[in-house]
Symmetry: C2
Subunit: 202 residues, 2 copies
Amino acid sequence: MQTKSEITISNILSAAEGLFLARQYADVTMEQIAAACDVTKGAIYYHFPSKEKLYLAMLHADLDEKRALLGEAIASRADCAERLRRLTRRFFDLPAEKRELIRLIRRDINVFEGAARDDLVRTYQASLPELVEEVIRDGIAAGELAPGDPRLLSWHFVALVEVVLADYAASVIPGAESKIEYVLNLFLNGAGNQRNGECPCP
Amino acid sequence: MQTKSEITISNILSAAEGLFLARQYADVTMEQIAAACDVTKGAIYYHFPSKEKLYLAMLHADLDEKRALLGEAIASRADCAERLRRLTRRFFDLPAEKRELIRLIRRDINVFEGAARDDLVRTYQASLPELVEEVIRDGIAAGELAPGDPRLLSWHFVALVEVVLADYAASVIPGAESKIEYVLNLFLNGAGNQRNGECPCP
DNA sequence: GGTAAAACATACCTACCGGTCGGTTTGTTT
DNA sequence: AAACAAACCGACCGGTAGGTATGTTTTACC
């Protein structure tokens, strides 16, 4: 069973997540967070030493959870395309708010400096791109993907997923499954018209 | 000849650009901007009614300029790949600060609400992605690109450019020209190993 | 070169926000 | 039920930053 304290902390983190996702770091006040989970500012400062620590704690909790979830999806011996497909599908299965976390970090990453910033970057790198990177590295080794830098390719893949995540995409590509296939096809085969490529054998 | 007022306005916009690029909107103070161009806060408020208006004015000026510059690059009758190449090259030729503007908008877009926000989105859309979209639309019509939604593909292309713009990419892909070819190749042909595709003719 | 208006500078106001602290409630132990 | 600790409240402080009011200089034009 959870103690009273754990419940409160969980509530605070949850409220903080919602607000930090909606607005920028500086535009979210501690009192707004407090009001959102029916406590006062004093209660938050009882559990967290500062606004910055609260933000980082919320990020860590969220990314750890997400990483564990997504990590399962690539733990298979399938080929590269299939592993990427499973990973993306699992990502799409996440509640919408959770998926926004990546954009959140890219947005607020300039708020902090020094150690806190490095910590943020590392935590982010370890969340999604690193998982993709692992799959891509294997894919290159197996000859399924063309040679290239795995990390750069993983960023490309993540960026592609982000594109499909935009509101506009929903009006063009309906349904999660077709979005996934869209991403995979574009990533593997590109946007060029393959039929234009001449077949070497007459 | 420029009047004194125009020079001051230009200085303010230039200083604002540098600071807004380096930090988040809320973390840039009016006094910092004032100090950066050797005036006082009062002078800024003489020319701009508010911080928000100053930010938007600086964005508009920058994007207008950039759009004019990039627009020339696609005004040719070359094929799709070549036009994209020229557009990207022109983009890479921009001073580093100017290239960061895209990321800036994506970062600060949540600061504003209502009309100001819509204005921001429209201005952004009209800057880079719309130019790419035009080229891609032609490319699809000419059969050079596989059928697909032009706008979504343009976002994909822009995202790819952004990936290559990251610091890490410099350590993997040296030189602007090879970055451009990397982007084009990945966009047109994808990351999949084409040699794996069986040739239908025996 | 004189003058009115534009273009600043200076000082100040006010709202807000992160953080603190004394005190109060609630729960637990003995 | 006394004693103690954990959890929480709410008023408050210090600093800050957007914005303004007013005085001063500079520009532009005659």
